[in-house]
Symmetry: C2
Subunit: 247 residues, 2 copies
Amino acid sequence: MGVSYSYQMKVPFDMSDVRGRIKLPQLILLSLQVSGMQSLDLGVSDRRLLEEYGLVWIVTDYAIEIQRLPVFDEEIIIETEARSHNRLFCYRSFTIRTKEGQVLVEMLATFVLMNQASRKVEAVLPDIVAPYQSQASKKIYRGPKYPAEIKGDTATFAVRFYDLDLNGHVNNSKYLDWVFEALGTDFLLQHTPTQIDLKYVKEVRGEGNILSLVERDACLSKHQIRSEDGLHAQAIVKWRKEEENEV
Amino acid sequence: MGVSYSYQMKVPFDMSDVRGRIKLPQLILLSLQVSGMQSLDLGVSDRRLLEEYGLVWIVTDYAIEIQRLPVFDEEIIIETEARSHNRLFCYRSFTIRTKEGQVLVEMLATFVLMNQASRKVEAVLPDIVAPYQSQASKKIYRGPKYPAEIKGDTATFAVRFYDLDLNGHVNNSKYLDWVFEALGTDFLLQHTPTQIDLKYVKEVRGEGNILSLVERDACLSKHQIRSEDGLHAQAIVKWRKEEENEV
């Protein structure tokens, strides 16, 4: 078991969607900030990682289970812990709870260390993971089998100037925007996600158009994020239809 | 002079653009949060305003002067103060400073009170503005003269599900996204805004396409945000071309 780190906050207005629930892309962004706070706290900040080792943390996979999405002004606690690592991958859990301890959302994120100059993945350095007391384990997380091809609709999004972050690529959290927005407002108003698997394949750099492909039935949607450079990300989302009185 | 309220913070990664400068739409959002904190602090929170009076604060105009944009990880202080009000309008200043007191950005925002049910502007209630110690004054802020017509390029943006906030309309800060993104990445990489005037005309509700019209020369751009419902916002932005070594 790794060292646990918690952050308590109220869901702010600008993180809430039209129904008052937290926007999932924002929840992912927030979780990354909380793990960044833990790194700072443990003396292995993102800044030190970059300056001393030339490395940055990159998320490759998310597995997310949603019991209920936190709502506007709700007090929540985000707890995170570096659970285990092998030669290349580090696994970190995020648990979002109510003040009373009820689990709302659980996320497992897979991280790798990327060399900022070469853009290549490097082996996990013991010095970097030691402060988290993450467990060395040969166990490798295997996500779901993503379909090779998507037969359905395609939505097109231009990469925006403000989508790019300081690393010069599109921030991780934006992919989920493209995944969700491809389903359209009507669907998003009538459904709520219960499980999300997301795999990042290749970063999106600079300008151009993004194609968000979606194939769906009543309670399952499969997604690819593509550009003229090929496949950037894949996702599978399970949905629950809203009851009338929930909307 | 009104009661002043300050908030100190570091510019986080997700608020920084590809050059490491704070994203202006995010700075506007953040400033609104800081004025929201002051309201809470003074016992006239947005929630109380809605529950007791059925009213919400709406921004109608921004006048923004930029000396330098705060950068990633920089410690900044946001100071806000309700300066004066007349029968319909409340004027609030925001000053963003470095820790050493250097002024980076100054904003003057015009607020009105809107009845949430009727969507109509209501007269300023003395009980609501009293805690801010805002000065009653007949002086009315007049923004610049915006052109009736824009002769230039048009960029089209779909209104996204996540653009909508809890009030069911597109959040104020998104308009500046549409204004800026219409200029394209190349222009935004080579120029920095020094002055922004922004006028909100009519809220954007629900789905559909937004047309972002722009007419520009080297150091000035004029904008309209339109939809099939007509004009939603107007803006005039002054720009400075970046020096080579700034980019």
